[in-house]
Symmetry: none
Subunit: 422 residues, 2 copies
């Protein structure tokens, strides 16, 4: 089942607004087996709308439109669609009452432009908008469906959730797509593809699909397959089989699934063990603490951190010996170890993570170029440290170091448990 | 001058990724007088790419493409474009050397799939990518231009900023749009529009345009005007006049211009005064430190911070008396003041900022509901504190509190100077 999305809006075409509606619609249509194969943003003119709808119907069975339904004169989507479907506008009394109530309940006057929002194409099914005054419209002609909705994200989502998706489910009966996403950290897209090429080939030979979705420091792998009648569980099990194999082969890199964050996963491990955490950050400058504290309930295991940007902060707040910094430099193994150990002691936590590096753009030397990052994890058993080489972008270095530090902590927690259970 | 943008990526069509590249491109083409009238997202197949390019060239003089240039097998944009422009791929030795250096500098092996990224269409001008291995390509045939770039946002932006926009400027000569952006914090969009409505009317009557661009906690105001031949300076001066008036009327809220961040602006004020800063964060959990340390060179004035999530961290690392927390609660004026003063002492800085609040979703009480945030600024003269009421989203509360804390510090630094100069 092929669908296309048409977004109407000059604000998107001049870059003032980012179109988030299309991604939301695509994400929610996908599990219904409705495949969006085009997303088009156009300007709010009769010609552009007409041309886009005509084109879309050549290829797709379903067209979803957002935007262009505002009360002002420049919104002509409704008229254009009425014309396209050879019908005319007619004032809908029930909708009119809803609009008048909407304004009355907000103590605002009802203008004629607002009343005119109750003028709707005859023959279209109205998808009620309970959050605003522009209604959704469902046209079904010649075996093809067009849904037009307002562009305000929460109104559009409301219309789809309130009944739009249900109507689509009933109207189109299509094979279901099952997909699962595996999250990896600390391994590049091409290296991953190379190491796992036999696995990828086997997976594709079984009719499953694989997509690499990289973002700084992180690669998401999406495995998907079509489920014909009643085969959902079998397809799901096949995907699980490949996920299990991936995890077995790279346990250090696979940290989670679907929409999890590394901070959530690591936090859960800490909580399960009744363990606590503190962080001592130099180059990551508070980013690791920020990632951790974005997670609701993190105060249960995260006790706090020190952003030790100045050397004096390293010595005074974390107890790093001044001569250690003098001898080895702040970006060094002895110092990052002392930071982690000092932090663990100060906050009295099970674990402490420390970072010290050259984030850039300045501060690099031939020995320690921009992108050199030392990190350490101090735990109940011992302290471990490693040096990473990042790139040249300050923001990239901060982001990737922060994610890698948390993933490394995750691995240390898991390996300690492993050692103990031996 | 009409342009179209084509985005290639299944991850967008299934809603896993939101296309931010198109908005960025559209925003940056607009001031060059290049009008984007279509943004199209398609799937990564030869047919879809070919069809999209053919269609786009029927209407537009310029087509910008992003995505589909990865090293894996499923990326076939390069081949498709070579075919479309009747040319062939050829290994570019200079690009190859760059790719090999890229991997070597990161201590990673160069795979054949990476080397193959140096296979580029003969006759295309290469737009160098210094941040990754997929190059940009510029095709100029039959009076029309197509630019193909990788989909990774910071690589694509790098390619355009490094030379792409300059080449467009030279190749197409069109009327210029002048626009300037004013950044405000701590005042809502509709309230701003209401208070400044006379100003907005006057501005529009002069033929200038105004756009409100809100994001959490922050509203950007973009003023723009068309400059006909030789009138650039006059239009620029007219815009400046309105900006000056806006600043005069809301100096607390207007913190900067264009792409500045509040951390950059505040950092500059500190540097100019030879002043230093430390932060004590509870509810913002490291976010203020993170904002500050994203700025290159921030170590000059930012000495560090404490994320004091646990009460024990507040007492032990910041010297907040335990009985103060017991009597008033951690989210209270006395505690946030003590945090700021303790922090200023520990780090020995000119200023210290402290936050303590209920970020949510849990932890709210009838007296201190979710969104209650206390913040304090301790300076050489005195300590000031205020309580803000935020919303219900944890991430929103963290983001907005962090920005507001820095803006408040900015205002405190400026007002102290004012007091002294009197």
């Amino acid at each position: 089942m092929k669908a296309e999305i048409i977004t109407i809006g000059d604000e998107i075409l001049i870059g003032q607004t980012i179109d988030t509606n299309s991604a939301w619609l695509a994400e929610h249509l996908h599990p219904l087996g409705i495949r969006v194969h085009r997303i088009l943003t156009i300007t709010d003119t009769r010609n552009a709308i007409r041309e886009a709808v005509e084109e879309a119907f050549k290829r797709a069975d379903l067209v979803l439109m957002t935007g262009g339904l505002g009360p002002t004169q420049d919104d002509i989507t409704k008229e254009t669609l009425a014309e396209f479907f050879s019908t005319e506008l007619e004032r809908n009394q029930e909708v009119l009452k809803g609009i008048e109530d909407f304004f009355r309940s907000r103590d605002r006057p009802v203008l004629e432009v607002n009343r005119a929002q109750a003028d709707l194409p005859k023959g279209a099914v109205i998808l009620k908008n309970t959050r605003g005054t522009a209604q959704g419209m469902w046209f079904d002609q010649n075996g093809k469906v067009l849904i037009s909705m307002p562009g305000v994200p929460y109104e559009m989502k409301g219309i789809m959730n309130d009944g739009g998706f249900d109507m689509l489910r009933k109207r189109f009966k299509t094979p279901k797509i099952i997909h699962k996403t595996v999250l990896t950290l600390g391994i590049g897209e091409s290296f991953l593809a190379d190491v796992m090429s036999d696995w990828e080939t086997a997976l594709r030979n079984e009719g499953l699909a694989l997509a690499y979705l990289p973002s700084p420091g992180l690669v998401r792998l999406r495995l998907s397959g079509f489920a014909e009648n009643g085969t959902s569980e079998a397809v799901s099990a096949r995907i699980d089989h490949y996920i299990k194999e991936l995890r077995r082969r790279m346990p250090q890199h696979v940290f989670g699934f679907e929409k999890e964050t590394i901070a959530e996963v690591t936090g859960r491990l800490l909580r399960e063990r009744g363990a606590t955490l503190s962080v001592a950050e130099s180059c990551t400058g508070g980013y690791v603490a920020h990632l951790l504290t974005l997670v609701p309930g993190s105060s249960e295991y995260f006790k706090g951190g020190v952003t030790a940007y100045a050397d004096s902060a390293k010595t005074e707040l974390l107890g790093v010996p001044a001569d250690l910094i003098e001898r080895h430099g702040a970006v060094s193994e002895p110092v990052v170890r002392a930071m982690a150990e000092g932090c663990r002691k100060r906050f009295n936590t099970t674990y402490a993570v420390a970072t010290s590096g050259v984030a850039g753009p300045d501060g690099g030397t031939p020995e320690k170029p921009v992108g050199t990052v030392w990190m350490a994890v101090a735990g109940p058993e011992n302290t471990v440290a490693q040096c990473l080489k990042m790139g040249r972008s300050r923001k990239g270095n901060i982001t990737v170091s922060g994610l890698m530090a948390l993933n490394w902590l995750r691995n240390e927690i898991l390996s300690e448990q492993f050692e103990k259970s031996e």
